[in-house]
Each structure stands twice: as structure tokens, then as C-alpha cells.
Amino acid sequence: MKKRDNYKLDIVPGVVLALFALFYMSQIPGIKVFKGLGSTPLNNHFIPWLWGGALLTLSLWLIVRGILKYRRVKAEGKLSNEGSLLKSLSDEREVILSFIALIIYVAFMESVGFIIMTCVYVFAQILILTPTEKWAKNIIPALITAVITGCLLFYIFRSVLNVLLPVGMFGFGL
């Protein structure tokens, strides 16, 4: 696909960013302004307005550019039908699974604890990044890697370097 045909990559991010910019700017009036001694003439609202406004302008630019591209492509009659959303999601299933694994990992780290969640996550992530047909060969090495990673890193960082890695409900590692 030629670069200039790619109108979707302008319109979709443009719309998302414009909405984000509007949301961002809607929060600005709620910021407490400091009026005490030595308060600056440009208060703490100014820069958020500047960046918010800049982002809105730039995203509108993107949208307009996208629409212009769309018109040109349509005029040339090269509008292509792309596959369904479901299919493209399934094409990216490793990415989606990776994100889900990552989210579960950080969400439960505090309650379950670093060691267990790390073992589970590393194991799951290795398998996600391995083609399914090779899983049989990889399960045992993945398991070993996961357990070693979890325990070793916990020991090094929690016990030696005093990083506050969560111990979790089982109270491991003390």
C-alpha cells in the first residue's frame, strides 16, 4: 500500500488524539492555582493549555490530511475492502495475549506476591511467544526458566538490594 493511500492511519489516531486533547483540557480548570507570595504571572494552567491546544491542533491537522487522502483515493477508485475486525484481532492474538498476561501480572503482583506471579507470567509469556506446534518441546524448559527467574530475581533485588518487591499473601522470602 502506498503511503498516501493510508488515510486510516491519519484519521483514526487524529480522532483519538483530538478526543484525548479535549479530555485533557477539560481537566485544566480544576487545577488549583497558587496565588501566594511570588506566584508567577503565568500560572500552572498556562502550559497545560499550550500543550493541550497544540495537541488538538496537530490532531485536527491529521484528520484533515486523512480526509484529503481519502477523497483522493476514492476519486481514483482504489478504495480497498479490508478484512473483518475479528480476523485482524485474531491475527494479533499473540500481542493481545501478551498484554493480557502483562496486565494480570502487574494487577495481582501486590496481593499474590512477586515470586508466584513472576513464575506464572514468565511461563505464560514464553509460551505466548512460542509457536503452538513447538509447545510440547518447550514446556519443561519454560517452567524451569520461570521458577529460576522468579526466585533468583526476588532474592537478588528484595534481599540484597532492598527493592520493595511485594511479598504477597504467602509471605515468601522473609
Binding site: F34, G36, L37, G38, S39, N162, L174
Partner: protein, 315 residues
């Protein structure tokens, strides 16, 4: 009757044995300021010495940000088992409450001990400036309103100092924000401001070299090892900013443990090694209170800071 007596004895034994066992595992101290600062150094010195007294390891962790507010917010309701403590300084503890950064004060904790005092901040000017003491500086600002630039860091202890100078000392400075001590030093050396407040330790060498002049200390009383300094409170009586190092426990930590920890802290502070360390580090003699003294001291400071709230014009 006998049964009751036995029950009572049993309870007492159980209770005391539970506490007698303290400490039996690692004690965690959360430090509100970053490694390398004075709050961190004092807390870590205390922890290292507490290990010797208590016989368990004492682990320090820095949880930093927002002048200590992050750590204090996080641990004020922390584990009450007597193995969690917070090391901070009183300027952050009372200052953050006064400036509205947080909505709680020392009462949200079980104060354990005040265990040291800073060498304090000094009001300094360029050596070439005509002002010899704080009185002259304030008078000059009144004579030329808005012409003398005072560098501050908005919201911190230096800000409170500036507010006191302006409202209670009637000074009329042009207040310029310069950020932390290092940046205020840069601004003063680069002639961007006429006066500012700097920690004694930062300013000392410049004063000695003859580049800067100290007008006064803002401590209520000059440090024991550098006694010949005028105090700001001689000119503006309310201007007393004593930054002390404090050890706190989460609210609800048993009083017995707080007392036991305080005993250990006092034992540490009484040693000659401790004296040598604080002499060298903060030019002060050991400075510490028992639990009750700590509470009184914190209350006194908080009352002073709260009395400034109307003049701080926050919000």
C-alpha cells in the same frame, strides 16, 4: 477470685511475652527523602546503630517524592506490628500540612522519637552587597519596595520563611522562585537574585571564601559548634525554623513498642560515637527526646507552623 487472679496473671504474662519478644524480626524503616540527603543519612546512621542495640537487622528503604508526602501518605496507616517505621524531618512533616500538600500532621502517626537537629538554613547575600544583617536587608526592602530580589523555593520551608519575612517582618521583597538549594545558590552566584536562604552546609565554603555573606541563621538557636551567628528571630521573633529528624510509627502501633523503640533510639543517641557523628555532620550536639518530649516538641512546632497558615496565602 483466685481464678480471676490467675487469669489476670496469665494475660499479663502473655501480653508481656508478646512484647518482650519484640523485636524478633527485621525492622523496616521507610525514609521520606532520597538517598544522599541529610534525612537519609541520619536515618541510616540511626538504623545502623539500632541494629547493634536491638540485635535484629534494620533495613532502610527510600520512598521519595513530594517533599516526603508520598511516603507519609503511604505508610501512615501501614503495618502496625511494630516493624514498620518512618524516618522523616519535622520541616516536611509540619510544613506539608501547613502548606496544604497533605491534610494530616504528626497526629496521623505514633511519633517515636526526635533524634537529631539540622545545622539549619542561613539567610545569605552576595559578599559585595551592602547589607550586614537581616535588619538592614529588611529595611532596604522597605525603602525600595519590590527592588530586592529574594530567591525562594515555592511551597517549602523557604517559602514559609519568605511569608513570615513579608507579613510579620514587613519586608517588601521581589519574590523570585529559583527551586531547590542548589539552584538558589546558582542564582545567587550568578547575580540573578540579591538574597536567599541556603542550608548552612551548602553555603559554608562560599562564606569562608568570601563570596557570600551570611546574615543570620533561621534556627531558633545557632548550632552548638558554630555559635557566633545572629538568629533571625532576634529581628522577626516568629522566624524560627528548626528542622529536626523524627522517627514515626504507623497510627495504631502498640505504645509498648513505641516506648521500646524510643528507648533504643535514646540509647543510640547517648553514645560518644553518635555525638562525634552529629558534631561532624550537622555541627550540632546530640538532640533527642523521649516519647512524651517528642510529642510536645512536635506539637510546639506544628502550632508555630499552623500559626503561619493565614499568612501563607495558599489557595
Amino acid at each position: 477470685m483466685k481464678k480471676l487472679f490467675f487469669a489476670l496473671v496469665l494475660v499479663t504474662i502473655l501480653a508481656t511475652s508478646a512484647f518482650a519478644a519484640w523485636p524478633e524480626k527485621t525492622i523496616n524503616i521507610y525514609i521520606t527523602h532520597a538517598a544522599g540527603g541529610d534525612t537519609d543519612y541520619m536515618a541510616r546512621q540511626l538504623a545502623a546503630n539500632l541494629e547493634k542495640v536491638l540485635g535484629v537487622s534494620v533495613v532502610c528503604t527510600n520512598v521519595t517524592g513530594a517533599n516526603g508526602a508520598t511516603c507519609m501518605t503511604q505508610y501512615k496507616d501501614g503495618n502496625k506490628d511494630g516493624y514498620t517505621f518512618i524516618a522523616t524531618n519535622t520541616a516536611a512533616l509540619n510544613g506539608n500540612e501547613a502548606t496544604g500538600m497533605v491534610d494530616f500532621g504528626y497526629n496521623a502517626f505514633e511519633p517515636v522519637a526526635v533524634y537529631g537537629i539540622q545545622s539549619g538554613e542561613n539567610i545569605v547575600v552576595h559578599a559585595s552587597s551592602p547589607y550586614k544583617d537581616l535588619r538592614e536587608l529588611i529595611d532596604a526592602s522597605i525603602a525600595n519596595p519590590g527592588q530586592i530580589k529574594l530567591g525562594i523555593s515555592t511551597g517549602g520551608g523557604v517559602y514559609i520563611m519568605a511569608c513570615v519575612l513579608a507579613n510579620l517582618g514587613h519586608a517588601q521583597f521581589n519574590i523570585i522562585d529559583n527551586g531547590d538549594a542548589a539552584n538558589r545558590l546558582t542564582a545567587l552566584l550568578g547575580d540573578a537574585i540579591d538574597a536567599t536562604s541556603l542550608p548552612y552546609s551548602t553555603a559554608a565554603d562560599y562564606i569562608e571564601k568570601g563570596q557570600l555573606r551570611s546574615l543570620c541563621t533561621v534556627l531558633s538557636k545557632a548550632p552548638t559548634l558554630i555559635p557566633n551567628q545572629p538568629s533571625a528571630s532576634a529581628v522577626v521573633p516568629e522566624l524560627k525554623m528548626d528542622t529536626e529528624y523524627a522517627l514515626l510509627a504507623p497510627k495504631g502501633t502498640p505504645a509498648e513498642i513505641v516506648k521500646a523503640m524510643n528507648d533504643a533510639v535514646l540509647k543510640v543517641c547517648g553514645t560518644p560515637e553518635w555525638k562525634e557523628m552529629v558534631n561532624k555532620f550537622s555541627f550540632q550536639d546530640p538532640f533527642y527526646f523521649d516519647v512524651e518530649g517528642t510529642l510536645n516538641n512536635l506539637k510546639e512546632q506544628r502550632d508555630l507552623f499552623q500559626s503561619f497558615v493565614p499568612i501563607l496565602e495558599i489557595n
